[in-house]
Structure formats: structure tokens, C-alpha cells
Amino acid sequence: MLFNRDWTPLELSLWVSAWAGVLALVTGTGLAWIFARLNFRGKWLLEGTTMLPLVLPPTVLGYYLLVALGRRGIGPAFEQAFGFPLVFSWPGAVVAAIVAALPLVIQAVKPSILDLSRETEDAARVDGCSEWQVFRFVTLPLIRASLLSGGILAFLRAMGEFGATLMVAGNIPGRTQTLSMAVYDAVQANNLDLANQLVLLLSVITFALLFIALRIGDQVRRGSEA
């Protein structure tokens, strides 16, 4: 059972970041498409709100989430409906990581949607494609690289998430203690050997992924110049 098992910090970080990465990528791509293509009242407000996590102190974000997801918010109703709580459990960490990662996905994907030539899509429509086919066979392949780098960035942001997660999910060994929590814990306990191991592990994983994301970003740029 996913809620009773004992996670190592590394397992939990990968698990939470994978969920957050995928969900942030899907939501972020949808929002990026809306912001790039549609015009409606209050769009600036929605767009600004999704960017807020980039600039808000993590504690403010964490507090908002704690109030929204906890006992004073949707917490009791959510637990009744789904059978597991959002706060102080790993799904809470996933939510915090999604919110933190969303602006990065939107920033990565929105420019490539804006760059798309509408004529290519229209040509597909003339050839009889349905809207879904246009998206699936024309739009999606054209923005594929930015989706990949957006997804990796989201995953990385989730791996690095600390402040908001600490407030929403706590730091419970085996349950909500991710790698970044475990580092904080090890330093507090002056267990510097463990801290060194964890810090090295976290640095290697994030650096390697960041390197890959940057390479993909380069290819996208070169592709658009060609």
C-alpha cells in the first residue's frame, strides 16, 4: 500500500517528483496553450497567479496550501471522498511541488506555442483533420522538445522543493521525508556524514538532469534558427 509503506528519502523524492513532473507538465501545457491562444477577461489575473510561486516566499505558498488543503480548507471533504489526507502525507508534497513547478512549465512551453505557425495547423484542417488530430499530429510534435525540457524542469523543481513542502507535508521519516527534508534533518542532528551523502546524491541527480534539459533547450533554439 502506497500509504503504509516506508519510503527511503530517495524513493520518496523520485516518486513525488515523477507525479509532480507529469501533472505539472499536463496542467502547465494546457495553461500555456490557453495563455498563448485565447483572449478573455481576467486573463492577466490568471496568468499572474500561475507565475506567483516563482516570486512568493515558499513559506507564504506553504501557508496558503496548508490553509487550503488542511482542516480549515478542503481537507476533511477530500479525505472523505478519496480515503487519504492531503496534508502531512506524500500527496500533499505532490501538490506543493506541482504548484511550484507550474510556472516553469508554462514559461518553457508557451513561447513554442506562440512560435507555431497557425498556417500549418490550418493546412491540416483543410486536409480534413479534426481538432484533436491537429493537436495530436501537428501541434504536439512541433512543441515536443519544449515539452520535454519543461517536464524535466518540473521534475527538477519538485526534487528541489523544500519550504512549502515542509509546511504542508511535514518532515516525517518514511512518510514525507524527501531527500531535501532528509538533508535538513541530518544537518540539524549534526549527522554530517549522512548530510554529505545526501547532498552529493541530490547534486548529482539534479545536475545531470539539468544538463540534459539545457541540451534539449539548445537543440530547440538551433532547430528554430535552421
Binding site: N4, D6, T8, P9, L10, E11, L14, L66, G70, R71, G75, P85, V87, F88, S89, R144, A145, L148, I152, G170, N171, I172, P173, G174, R175, Q177, A182, D185, A186, V187, Q188, A189, N190, L194, Q197, L198, L201, I205, A208, L209, I212, R215, I216, Q219, G223
Partner: protein, 266 residues
């Protein structure tokens, strides 16, 4: 365009391999049997050493698994108010337990005193600072003094009260560095980043520092109480652990770490 997929796939495989590494921050519990229950205990940071030892003993004897979460009493109480899945709460000040019991978040009948704590002045051995009394903290070479945050950490509050009773608070206030809890406060002094600090006696016996008791008449008593969390799914095991702490196996350990036991409190 297909190029990045290959290193990505290799990397994903490496990650999965990494996940199998036995890198555990939490100690592995007893082998699982059908009767094995896992409880989570939220303990004030001053209990880090004592409770780690007691929990190991309890796991050995009962086969149940105890996960310990340490933090400042105020932070843990706030987490319980927000629905944190703790089974037992061991506070550094009885007031926090009483408050939660009044709100229905702690089982009132389970509330029990289990220790009285003391504060000590700790000095990093390599700092070159010599201080055994609070009055010596005014020396110019002591640029920073670590205490736990008095707003939510009972040992920080006791440190503040002791400094106020000796009339040093206003003078020393600009030099204070606030730890989130008493364990982090000690860590500041252990690393030598802060030369002196005021922490709990129960965590002060570490190789990097020397310590001297602070007169307990200078602050309100640090009467520590525990209680079973109302939302606990394993209240019986949580109660067993509470009795274990306060029983013949737990008490010698508490005494070893410098706590006064409930029947020794005048």
C-alpha cells in the same frame, strides 16, 4: 531530435538503480509480523537522544515500530492542529498538551507528566571562549549567542526567562541567533559557527561542547507532558509507548540524560 531520449533513458535506469540503495534516514524497524504496528511519535527536540534510545528498546521488546519526529514543541502542536498523523505527542511544556486536550485534539485521560528539564550554557571547545555563568556572556568576544526561538520552543523561552531574570536580556538581545528548536540551536554551537548557546541538558553531552547548568530558579519549570493524539489510529500502542517512557524501562534512560522524573519534582 531523438538524441536526448537516449541519455534520458539511461539516466532513468540509473535513477531506478539508485532507488534500490539502502539510504535510510530512519532506522529500520523490527521484522514485520501480523501484530506489528507502526506508530509515529512527535517529540520535543530536547528528547532526541533519550527517545531514540527508548524507542529502540520498545521496538526490541514489543516488535512494534516507532517513527520519531522531532521539532520545537510549538511547531509540532501547530502540525497536530492541522491534522498531522502523529499518534503520541511528547511536549517540552505541559501547556501545549493541555491546550490541545482542551481543543479535543489530545485524549485528556492520557495526559501525563514524564519529566522536568534543565537548561545549560554550552560553549564550543574550539571557540576559545570561557564561560560557565550567564553573567560572563557580556564579554565582547562573544559576538553571537544561540538560543531556541522563544516564541514556539519551550527551552528557548526558558533561556529568555533566565536572561531576563539576570537582567541581561536587553544587553544580549542583539547578539542572539535563534534556532528553530533546541537541537538546531545546539548544532549551531557544535559546528562552532556560534561560540555559545543555551540548550537543554538532555542534548548537551556531545563531544564538541562543554556545558554548565543554569540555576533553575531563574526560569519557569520545564515540566514536560505527553498525550495520545485523538486522531491516532493506534491509540492503544501509543499509550503503551507512553507508559514505557514513564515506566521502569524508560525512566532510567530519561534520568541518564539529565531529566528529573515526575516523582522527583517537588
Amino acid at each position: 531530435m531523438h538524441k536526448p531520449i537516449v541519455p534520458l533513458a539511461i539516466f532513468a535506469c540509473a535513477l531506478v538503480a539508485c532507488a534500490a540503495l539502502p539510504l535510510r534516514a530512519a532506522p529500520q524497524g523490527a521484522p514485520a509480523t501480523s501484530a506489528t504496528v507502526a506508530i509515529t511519535v512527535a517529540g520535543a527536540a530536547d528528547l532526541q537522544f533519550a527517545f531514540t534510545e527508548i524507542a529502540e528498546l520498545f521496538e526490541e521488546q514489543t516488535g512494534h515500530q516507532v517513527t520519531l519526529v522531532f521539532g520545537s514543541t510549538g511547531q509540532l502542536a501547530q502540525q497536530i492542529e492541522n491534522g498531522a498523523p502523529y499518534d503520541l505527542f511528547a511536549a517540552a511544556n505541559i501547556k501545549f498538551v493541555d491546550d490541545l486536550a482542551q481543543k479535543g485534539l489530545i485524549v485528556p485521560e492520557s495526559v501525563a507528566l514524564y519529566a522536568r528539564g534543565r537548561i545549560v550554557l554550552v560553549v564550543n571547545k574550539q571557540s576559545g571562549v570561557k564561560a560557565t555563568r550567564l553573567q560572563e556572556l557580556t564579554a565582547a568576544e562573544i559576538t553571537h549567542i544561540a538560543i531556541a526561538n522563544p516564541d514556539h520552543a519551550p527551552y528557548g523561552l526558558a533561556a529568555r526567562q533566565a536572561l531576563e531574570s539576570t537582567g541581561l536580556w536587553e544587553t544580549l538581545k542583539p547578539r542572539l541567533v535563534l534556532g528553530e528548536n533546541v537541537r538546531q540551536t545546539l548544532q549551531f554551537v557544535q559546528t562552532g559557527d556560534v561560540p555559545v548557546g543555551i540548550v537543554a541538558l538532555s542534548v548537551a553531552d556531545v563531544p564538541e561542547v562543554t556545558y554548565a547548568l543554569i540555576d533553575d530558579a531563574l526560569h519557569q519549570p520545564l515540566d514536560q507532558a505527553l498525550g495520545v493524539v485523538s486522531a491516532s489510529k493506534n491509540p492503544a500502542i501509543a499509550m503503551d509507548f507512553a507508559r514505557f517512557i514513564n515506566g521502569e524501562r524508560g525512566r532510567p534512560i530519561m534520568r541518564k540524560y539529565g531529566f528529573l522524573l515526575p516523582d522527583e519534582i517537588r
